[in-house]
C-alpha cells in the first residue's frame, strides 16, 4: 500500500514538474527566445576558445578551430526574424534587455555595420585558431565587437 502511494505521489510530482517545464519552454516571446538561444551558442563556443586563451584548458587546435568555425557560422546567420518590431524593453519589459533605440531607422546602418564587424572578427578568429597565440590575439577583437553592440543597444546590467 505504501509503495503504491509512493508511486502515485511520484508520478503526480513528475507530471507537475513536467508541466512547469513545458510552460517555461512555451512561455515568452519566441523571437526573444531565439535570439537568447543564439547568444547562448556564441557564449558556449567562446567559452571553449576563452578557456584555452586563459590557460584553464589545454590548447587543442582541432577543438579551437571547430569552436571558431561555429562562431563564424553563427555570426554569418541572418537574424532578421529574431528582431521583429515590438520586442524591445519598451514593449516586453524585463523579458528582454534589447533597447528600443535598436529599432530606430537612424540605427539601422550602425546595427548592420556592427553585425558585420562581428562576422569579420569571427572569420579572423577562425583563420587564426590553429595556434594558441592566434586565439589569444583575436579574442579581444571578438569581445570588442560583441561589446560594441551591447554598449549601445542593450540595457546595462543593474
Amino acid at each position: 500500500m505504501r509503495f503504491k502511494q509512493g508511486v502515485i505521489l511520484g508520478a503526480a510530482a513528475a507530471i507537475f514538474a513536467g508541466g512547469i517545464a513545458i510552460a517555461g519552454g512555451h512561455g515568452g516571446n519566441p523571437a526573444v527566445k531565439a535570439r537568447k538561444a543564439h547568444m547562448q551558442l556564441y557564449a558556449h563556443n567562446l567559452g571553449i576558445l576563452g578557456g584555452m586563451a586563459k590557460g584553464e584548458v589545454e590548447f587543442n587546435a582541432e577543438t579551437a578551430e571547430l569552436a571558431a568555425g561555429n562562431l563564424a557560422t553563427l555570426a554569418s546567420m541572418n537574424q532578421m526574424t529574431y528582431w521583429p518590431p515590438g520586442t524591445s524593453t519598451a514593449e516586453l519589459g524585463e523579458e528582454t534587455r534589447a533597447l528600443p533605440v535598436g529599432w530606430e531607422s537612424a540605427s539601422m546602418d550602425d546595427v548592420i555595420g556592427k553585425a558585420g564587424a562581428l562576422a569579420e572578427a569571427a572569420v579572423a578568429m577562425q583563420a587564426a585558431a590553429g595556434s594558441l597565440e592566434g586565439v589569444q590575439a583575436n579574442i579581444g577583437a571578438v569581445g570588442g565587437a560583441c561589446g560594441a553592440c551591447h554598449k549601445v543597444y542593450r540595457q546595462p546590467d543593474s
Partner: protein, 296 residues
C-alpha cells in the same frame, strides 16, 4: 558689551584667516620636474591607463574620435551635474597652452593654472599618487593629440557646493598621497596597485562615498551606488568577488565575463582602455585585486 562685540569680531577674523589659510590652493614649484625627460610611448600608456578619453572625449565618441578631447560629457552627482572640460591641445579652448607643471598641479593637487580648486569629479584624489615621470610623459603625449575648439560648459552645481574655496577644506579632509592598500606586495602587485589606485582611479566608482562626497577608505573597492542613479557599482574585494586571476585578465582584455557575457555600463570604456595596456599590466591589476582587504 562693546568688549564682547570686539572679541567676537577678532574671533571671526581669526576664523576667516584660518579658513583662508587651510583652503588656499597649494601647488608644487617647477623643481619637481627637474631632470625628467618625457617619453611619448610611456605617455600614451599613461593616457590609456588613466582613462582620460573616457570622460573627456565628446559624448558617444568612438574609435579614433576618442582621441579628440573636446569635453562636454555630463556627470550627474548628488552635488550637481559636472561637464567634462575640453583638454584637447587647442591653446585657447583646451590645454594646449599648459606647461607640464600645470598638468602636474592639476592632476596631483587639483589646482588649475589660474590657482582655482577643481571639483573632485576630476579624480585628483587618485592621480595624486601618479609619478612626476608619468605626468611629464602624459603631457608630452597629449600635446600630440588633435586640437578642438569646443568651448567649455559651466558646471551646474548649486550653493554651497559651488564655493570653490571650500574645496580646499575638502582636500584636507579626504586627499591623501599614501597608498590605500599597505600590505607587503610583490613587484607585480605593487605595479597593479599603482595602476589601480593612481592612474586607473578604480576607487572613484568602486569605493562608497560619505555625505560630503569623500571616499570611505575603510570600505575600499567595496561597491557603491551608481552615480547615474540605476543599480550599483559592484564590490570587487575578495570577500565578494571570486573570479580567478585569469578570469580578470580575460575580462580586461576582451571584455568577456567568466560566463562569456560581455562587459556592461561604464566598464565598457574601462575595458577599452585596459585592453590597450601590455598584458602584464592587466595581470598586475588582477594580482593587486587579490590583495585588497575583503569587505562584506
Amino acid at each position: 558689551m562693546r568688549r564682547a562685540v570686539s572679541v567676537l569680531a577678532v574671533l571671526a577674523l581669526a576664523g576667516a584667516a584660518v579658513f583662508w589659510w587651510v583652503t588656499r590652493p597649494v601647488v608644487a614649484g617647477a623643481s619637481v620636474l627637474d631632470g625628467i625627460t618625457p617619453d611619448l610611448a610611456q605617455g600614451e600608456l599613461v593616457f590609456h591607463a588613466g582613462g582620460c578619453a573616457s570622460c573627456h572625449s565628446a559624448d558617444k565618441a568612438d574609435g579614433e574620435a576618442k582621441l579628440v578631447l573636446s569635453g562636454g560629457r555630463a556627470f550627474a552627482s548628488p552635488f550637481g551635474t559636472f561637464y567634462a572640460p575640453n583638454i584637447s591641445s587647442d591653446p585657447e579652448h583646451g590645454i594646449g597652452g599648459w606647461s607640464a607643471l600645470d598638468l602636474y598641479n592639476a592632476m596631483k593637487h587639483g589646482v588649475s593654472p589660474g590657482g582655482r580648486h577643481y571639483f573632485p569629479a576630476f579624480p585628483y584624489t587618485s592621480y595624486v599618487r601618479a609619478t612626476a615621470e608619468d605626468i611629464m610623459s602624459l603631457h608630452a603625449y597629449m600635446q600630440t593629440l588633435p586640437a578642438d575648439a569646443t568651448a567649455n560648459r559651466a558646471h551646474d552645481v548649486g550653493f554651497p557646493f559651488n564655493i570653490r574655496r571650500s574645496l580646499g577644506g575638502w582636500k584636507v579632509l579626504f586627499g591623501s598621497e599614501g597608498w590605500v592598500v599597505e600590505a607587503d606586495l610583490t613587484e607585480e602587485e605593487a605595479r597593479g596597485r599603482y595602476l589601480a589606485e593612481a592612474l586607473g582611479h578604480c576607487g572613484e566608482c568602486h569605493t562608497p562615498r560619505n555625505v560630503l562626497g569623500g571616499p570611505d577608505y575603510g570600505r575600499w573597492l567595496a561597491g557603491a551606488p551608481n552615480p547615474t542613479g540605476s543599480g550599483r557599482i559592484p564590490n570587487i574585494t575578495p570577500a565578494k568577488f571570486d573570479w580567478s586571476k585569469a578570469d580578470i585578465v580575460e575580462y580586461f582584455t576582451s571584455g568577456f565575463t567568466p560566463e562569456f557575457d560581455t562587459v556592461g555600463g561604464h566598464m565598457v570604456d574601462v575595458v577599452e582602455n585596459l585592453s590597450k595596456l601590455p598584458r602584464e599590466d592587466r595581470a598586475a591589476i588582477a594580482a593587486y585585486l587579490k590583495k585588497v582587504p575583503g569587505v562584506e
